[in-house]
Symmetry: C2
Subunit: 436 residues, 2 copies
């Protein structure tokens, strides 16, 4: 008897659990198009409101992974470990991290996404490097991971196609913020990379999708359960996303900051996150015995230039202009204007709302409201003052790096993002918790 | 600012109430096609699981009524009152009732539906009369209501088109059994008829969509709330649907039983329901002072032939062969075979599951599994023994009226529908409650 999709929707609607076969039938119908969008949408809303248990979520993710190609990296000897971030503002960590982790001996087969809403995307940042190609076929992807230890691409047509259908539908049916749907979507793409282990940077705070630590922890646990079911351990690093990471928010500007980190410099928090996440990756991959050893190894490749050199070779291998790495200020797109946003009074910065800064960057053209929007790689925000900094009235809090659009609206957003207080706030931790 | 449909879905998803404007925007997008099916499906599931309050339900029904034409019967002097049944097995009441109520002086502008699943539909029954046209345009509909006091048609393309879209979607997205969605769907069609009042036969029991009396009462109250908001009073008659109504289940066979009732004869329960519902219609329309007076008036037109004559004139006016009324056994389609289902033991009939009988009739070809299925007007089930009857082993419980398909499967269903017990069951009421 063929499974009637409306019967599966009914089971979930009434709070029941779907069997592995039923989930497989649903996802397979999504993939081959025999389940129409309207049935998919009804199921997504039923899942949103009724949930999926860990077994169902793992099964759902597994079915999505196998709706398309799974990369075969078995011919590569190195441990294959990737990192994923749930999305933040100024989150350029993937760029220095992938190169540095590979310079330490890992294979990093990194498939990334684009920015949407107030968060940026690794692909958009990479594409601000003139010539950089993020759309490679899987053969070339595998060859580069083998030869250089790292390749940075976008999801191909044939990776987790069921996820692509459901992801697009969720956006227009108000079914995005569901832990099992978010977790299975992330893992369907990561497990398709053929990795041995994953480090998840799970962000929480005003600038993250998971506003509270409990929500973030729930997502983390769900992702770990999917990983366990697929024999792919996931280490979760819960990190704070209350202000942007580092000083650059945008695309070319974030590449510049990434290169600074790869030169052993850069803002302290950007470097610290890169080192911490890299150390966890090395630990997962068995390339170090303790996280402290991992940190030392990461710091070494950032400080001795080997991570930078590897990044430059990746840029070249993927068609990019290596001069953008050697002399970024001359060979990356630059904004035409740099306009300060001034402190209205004296005080201490007590908040710098990351989501507002992200939206300000979007308004300048650094992000997209809808998938089809074009972005301007040159624009963004340069953060001058961070939480805890003492400022005087008239001192720049941040600079808008702009071309011709959105300056006024972005100015207003950035000004609103900052809160000044008479006393310094209690210092807050960047890395909140590690779940191994 | 245009309303984003996903924002409306989100409000309902999170258990909020939609404003009248928001509901209007959603239904209007359904009508003009700017809201795609997948957004409609997500909203339907959110409504299914979160509900609509009375104000939202009335607003939803109102928006569906005004998504299309509303019949203007203001030029007709008589009180305009219709009846709707939530659907049963052997429920041919609309046929004798419409004619008898009109013979008593009401205008009955009756727009009916087709059978789906185990329940029959008035249009299918009427179409078993050779030549009978159920698809008339609204001008002809209004003219016939004016001239004869009654017209029996199907929903036109331009009546409540939003309901047609949502009704079709609900069927394939497991969002059928929702009280606000059922209530607003029923009322969107009935209010489009231009009636002054409605009598609702709300069925409960194993053969009804509402299995329990509480569910039926909840549907009744919701429909009354919609009616109140539209200044159209609704009287609800809660009736038992545990066994089929009367002795005939099918199409031509139900027309024959209807004609018997119109001749002042017919099974006692079919006549009793016709009289009771008609009395409530007359009371709603102000044509009698008490329900007892209304019953007397109904009995009179059934017994003196005036309802039968009016029915014959309606058949003629709508293109049907009036000889089917005068001599139904010769001029209505007849089944080729009549096969008894025998009692396996002695005993009292303690159950005759209406839904199983309905499915048996469907298997013989009297109903449809899917909208596009063709039906056979000649086939059906003839009930020989009813709940409470004393039977002996080998005595026929029912007869299958069949042509060439489904005889074995239908036989099994009918045999299974009957339960025989050593003692007579306690008698049950047909009319459970009237909510005026």
């Amino acid at each position: 008897v063929p499974l009637l999709i409306q019967e599966l929707i009914r089971i979930k609607r009434d709070g029941g659990a779907l069997s592995d076969d039923e989930i497989r039938a649903f996802i397979s119908g999504i993939t081959d198009g025999t389940v129409p969008d309207y049935q998919a949408a009804a199921m997504l809303m039923a899942v949103f409101l009724r949930g999926l248990d860990d077994r169902e979520t793992a099964s759902w993710a597994h079915a999505m992974v196998h709706s398309g190609d799974v990369v075969d990296l078995s011919a590569i000897d190195r441990p294959k470990v990737d990192k994923h971030s749930t999305g933040g503002v100024g989150d350029k960590i993937s760029l220095p991290l992938a190169a540095a982790a590979a310079a330490c001996g890992l294979a990093v087969p990194m498939v990334s996404g684009r920015g949407l809403g107030h968060t940026g995307g690794t692909l958009d940042k990479l594409e601000s490097i003139p010539g950089f190609q993020v759309h490679l076929d899987l053969d070339r992807f595998v060859a580069q991971v083998r030869d250089l230890g790292v390749c940075l691409i976008g999801q191909t047509e044939r990776m987790a196609p069921a996820d692509r259908v459901l992801y697009a539908l969720r956006d227009v049916t108000a079914t995005v913020e569901s832990v099992p749907l978010i977790a299975s979507s992330i893992m369907s793409k990561k497990l398709a990379e053929g990795i041995d282990a994953l480090v998840l940077d799970c962000k929480t705070g005003s600038g993250a999708f998971m506003k509270t630590r409990d929500e973030a922890r729930r997502l983390a646990r769900t992702i770990q359960a999917i990983g366990r079911a697929a024999d792919t351990p996931v280490t979760v690093v819960l990190t704070r996303m209350s202000e942007p990471i580092g000083r650059a928010v945008g695309n070319a500007t974030e590449v510049i900051e990434s290169i600074e980190v790869l030169r052993g410099a850069g803002p302290a928090d950007t470097r610290a996150l890169t080192v911490a996440l890299g150390a966890e990756m090395l630990l997962c991959g068995g390339l170090c015995a303790t996280v402290e050893d991992g940190s030392v190894a990461m710091e070494r490749v950032l400080d001795n230039g080997s991570a930078l050199e590897l990044f430059a070779r990746v840029v070249e291998a993927q068609g990019g202009d290596r001069r953008a790495v050697d002399d970024p200020s001359r060979h990356l797109p630059a904004a035409r204007g740099r306009t300060p946003v001034l402190a209205p009074t004296d005080g201490y910065v007590s908040a710098c709302a990351a989501d507002q800064i992200g939206i300000a960057a979007l308004l300048l053209g650094a992000g997209r409201r809808r998938k089809e929007d074009a972005i301007d790689p040159a624009v963004g925000i340069e953060i001058a003052c961070r939480i805890g900094d003492r400022v005087e009235a008239g001192q720049p809090l941040a600079f808008l790096l702009h071309c011709d659009r959105g300056v006024e609206a972005a100015h207003e957003r950035v000004a609103r993002a900052y809160t000044l207080a008479p006393a310094a706030p209690a210092p807050d931790q960047l890395i909140l918790e590690v779940l191994r």
